[in-house]
Point group: C2
Chain length 214, copies 2
C-alpha cells in the first residue's frame, strides 16, 4: 500500500519532469534518457510504468489537460461577475495571478506553459492517440469558455452577440495565435494586444451571419 504509493510518486515524478522538458524541447526531440537522467530513474522503470514513449506522451497530455481544467476551476471560483471571471482567465494567459514571480522566475502566464501551443502542430501529424487526447482537452476547454460567456450574458456583464461556442472558439484561436507569435518574436506584445482585442470582441454585439456550430 505504502509501496504502491511510492510507486505512484515515482511515476508522477517522471510525468512532471517530462512535462518540463517537453515544454521546451518538443516531444520528438526529447529523449527518454533526458527525462530519466534528470529525475534519477533507471530505464527499466520507465517501461514498467509506460508501455511506450507514445503511451507516456498520452499520459502526459491527459494529466496536463486534467490539471488545466482544475486550475481553471480554481481561478474561476473567486468572486466576480461573469465578465470579470472571463477576463480573469484571459489575463492569466499573460500573468498567472496565483503564482508568485520573483527575479529568478520572471513574470509568466499560462501562455508560456501551454502544451497546446507547443505541441498541437507537432503531435497532430505524429501520433493519432496523442492528437485525440489533446483535441478532446481543447474541446472540453472550449465548452467551458462558452458556458462562461453564457453566464456572463445572463448576469448582463457581457452583451449578446455571436453564438457563445463560436465566440469562445474565436477568442481561444486568437490567444493561441498570440501565444505562438509571442514565442516566435520573444516579445509579449501580441498577448497584451490579444487582451485588448478580447475586450473589444466581447463588447461587439453585432451578430455575424449564421455560423455553423459544431
Amino acid at each position: 500500500m505504502n509501496l504502491t504509493k511510492k510507486a505512484q510518486v515515482t511515476r508522477q515524478h517522471i510525468l512532471d519532469t517530462g512535462y518540463r522538458l517537453v515544454l521546451h524541447r518538443g516531444f520528438a526531440a526529447m529523449g527518454l534518457m533526458e527525462i530519466l537522467k534528470e529525475c534519477g530513474v533507471p530505464k527499466g522503470s520507465f517501461y514498467h510504468y509506460f508501455a511506450s514513449k507514445e503511451a507516456f506522451g498520452c499520459a502526459l497530455l491527459q494529466q496536463y489537460v486534467d490539471e488545466y481544467i482544475e486550475k481553471l476551476a480554481r481561478l474561476l471560483a473567486e468572486t466576480g461577475n461573469g465578465r470579470e471571471s472571463l477576463m480573469r482567465y484571459w489575463n492569466a494567459w499573460i500573468a498567472d495571478p496565483t503564482s508568485s514571480s520573483d527575479s529568478a522566475n520572471p513574470v509568466q502566464g499560462w501562455a508560456d506553459d501551454c502544451l497546446v501551443v507547443k505541441l498541437a502542430a507537432e503531435v497532430a501529424d505524429l501520433s493519432e492517440d496523442m492528437r485525440r487526447v489533446l483535441d478532446a482537452g481543447v474541446q472540453q476547454l472550449l465548452a467551458r469558455i462558452a458556458a462562461l460567456i453564457d453566464e456572463a450574458r445572463e448576469d448582463g456583464s457581457v452583451p449578446d452577440g455571436a453564438p457563445s461556442p463560436a465566440l469562445a472558439r474565436m477568442l481561444y484561436q486568437m490567444w493561441l495565435g498570440a501565444a505562438l507569435l509571442t514565442k516566435l518574436s520573444q516579445n509579449r506584445m501580441p498577448l497584451h494586444q490579444a487582451l485588448i482585442a478580447t475586450e473589444t470582441l466581447l463588447a461587439c454585439d453585432q451578430t455575424p451571419p449564421n455560423v455553423p456550430i459544431t
Copy 2:
C-alpha cells in the same frame, strides 16, 4: 556553368523535398536520410550544399518566406477593391484559388502548407537562427497585411477602426489559431469560422483603447 546550374537544381531539389517532409514530420523528427533517400542524393552531397542541418533549416525557411510573399503578391495582383483583395487572401487560407484540386489532391488552402503553423513553436526553442528567419518573415507579412488594410480604408471598402498594424496582427493570430485547431481536430470548421469572424472584425469600427504598436 551548366554544371553550376545543375548543382543549383540539386540543391533546390533537396530544399523542395525537405519542405514537403518537414511540413508533416516537423524539423527535429525529420532525418536527413529521409530527405536524401527520397530525392536520390547521397549523404555526402548534403554537406556540400549545406553547412549543417540547422543551416539547411534556415535556407528552407528563408525560401518559404520569400515564395510566400511572392505568392501573395500574385494573388493580390488581380482586380478588385481593397476589401476584396484582403478577403481573397484570407479565403486562400481555406482554398487556394490558383491551385487546382482533384480527387487525389483534396481541397487545400495555404493553412495546410503553412510552416509558421507547423514550425513556429518547435523552432522558437530549437534554433535561434531559424527562429529569426521565421520571425522576420512573419513581420514582413504583417506589414503587408496592414498596408492592405490601409488601402482598403482609403478606397472606402473597409471602415476605419483599430490601427491597421494592430488589426493585421489580430487577424493573423486568429487565423494561426484556426489553422492549429484545424490540424488538431482534423476538421476545417475553425477556418470557416475564422472567415466569418474576419468579416465581422473588419466591419467593426469601434476603436479599442490605445494599443501600443510594436
